[in-house]
């Protein structure tokens, strides 16, 4: 009986440890935008891709930032704890001058400050 109890407790501890296993690295993949993408006026900057961690991650942030002014056109985040995420966002290009927009995915790996970041730049054209 004692052995069975110990086995159950050990199993429970192992499962619990596994469940809370924090990520130390994450693979961030962009399906969109493609490298050195150029977006015409009134077309959308389209960010789409996935994040796969080697453990549970503590959320991620998606930013579309004007590289000249520093303004964030998109700044969205989630704190859902998951082993993988997919992201998808659009922003309509209405710039008045040729502008580089940085699309950034910033992953919270362990909830203690460790991050993984991947950027992709898009050139937005005016009318």
């Amino acid at each position: 009986m004692k052995k069975i109890s110990l086995s159950i407790i050990t199993l429970f501890v192992l499962i619990s440890c596994h469940k809370n296993d924090p990520a130390t690295t994450a693979i961030i993949s962009f399906d969109e935008p493609i490298l050195n993408d150029t977006v015409a006026f009134m077309d959308s900057v389209h960010a789409e891709g996935s994040i796969v961690g080697n453990g549970k991650m503590h959320g991620f942030r998606l930013l579309f930032t004007d590289q000249v002014s520093g303004v964030d056109y998109i700044n969205e985040s989630t704190s859902n704890i998951q082993k993988e995420y997919a992201f998808h966002e659009h922003w309509l290009n209405q710039v008045t001058d040729t502008t580089t927009i940085r699309v950034r995915v910033e992953v919270e790996l362990d909830g203690k400050g460790a991050k993984s970041i991947l950027d992709r730049n898009v050139v937005c054209l005016p009318q």
């Binding site: 993949s29 891709g49 989630t78 995420y85 992201f87 998808h88 966002e89």
Partner: protein, 302 residues
């Protein structure tokens, strides 16, 4: 007695008129469910739920819930000829990681006529087998997606006038057990924005258990339903794979209905067995249906 005799022909209402389509929240295909041969007109209300998930690189990133509430009528025009009408109200929501989008409104009206072309009964008037053929039209009455929309399927309507064809057959196997098969085809037209959903087909085969429970009658069914969707087009050009709604679903189906002399209550539930929609980027999770129908007995002699 007449009621019981003709009630025996009323099977499979819970087959209902919802296909697990992706097309603007309206039924892609016709399905009368309520079989021919009764002496009743009916009016009814049903609510359909369908949950879809969207995937990027095989990771779920959005949940879509399509809710259709539908008012329906059935007019028994002649002994072997009925007219059906459906008025849907659609509420669709699509929840992504950061955003939630919703569309609601009156959907596309559907009307069709169904005729029994073959009917065999036993000496007590109970159906042994029958075959019926139907034709209908789905009108463009609901709000549909503008050209710029990336969420075409969320809108209550498709903007097109579609032709619906329906074949329905039933055979009694034993006293309380029957088998029902239904096949339908939806021929879709191009809407005013140049968008055309692909034609779709639906077929189902169900075993039906018909049991008298005191004053009530319980009709349970279980079976399979398959849906096939052709690719959508914009201005005549086939849309890219993964964005054109092409694919198939195969679902298991379980349901029951309880009938009284004056009304019935029915419910059904569907779970996917196999599917491939939009190159795996869209998956049906489940579908459910709940409905009420009230019988109006014909005053004229038949």
């Amino acid at each position: 007695m007449k009621f019981r005799q003709h009630l025996n022909l009323m099977l499979l209402l819970s087959s209902s008129s919802f296909a697990c389509d992706l097309c603007g929240g309206v039924g892609a295909n016709a399905s009368i469910g309520l079989l021919a041969g009764t002496r009743f007109h009916t009016i009814g209300y049903q609510t359909n739920y369908r949950q879809f998930n969207s995937y990027i690189d095989h990771i779920a990133h959005a949940k879509g819930l399509q809710v259709t509430q539908e008012f329906s009528f059935r007019w028994q025009a002649l002994q072997r000829f009925q007219v059906y009408g459906y008025v849907p109200y659609v509420q669709n929501t699509y929840k992504e990681t950061f955003d939630s989008i919703s569309q609601k409104g009156w959907g596309d009206l559907r009307a069709f006529a169904n005729s029994i072309i073959f009917h065999r009964q036993d000496s007590s008037g109970r159906s042994l087998s029958y075959v019926s053929l139907g034709y209908g039209i789905k009108f463009s009455t609901g709000k549909f997606a503008p050209v710029s929309s990336a969420y075409t399927n969320l809108y209550p309507g498709t903007g097109s006038t579609d032709h619906l064809f329906l074949l329905n057959a039933f055979k009694r196997l034993y006293s309380q057990l029957g088998i029902q098969a239904e096949a339908s085809y939806s021929l879709k037209s191009t809407n005013s924005n140049g968008y055309k959903y692909g034609n779709s087909s639906q077929c189902s085969i169900l075993l039906i258990l018909n049991q008298q429970l005191g004053q009530y009658r319980l009709i349970a069914h279980s079976g399979l339903e398959g849906n096939l969707f052709a690719a959508s087009r914009q201005s005549g050009v086939l849309l890219a794979s993964g964005q054109n709604n092409a694919g198939y679903t195969l679902t298991s189906k379980l349901g029951c209905m309880l009938l009284t002399r004056h009304y019935l209550v029915a419910t059904s539930f569907q779970l996917p067995i196999a599917q491939d929609l939009n190159m795996g980027q869209t998956k049906l999770r489940w579908a459910a249906n709940l409905q009420f129908q009230f019988f109006i007995q014909k005053k004229s002699k038949q």
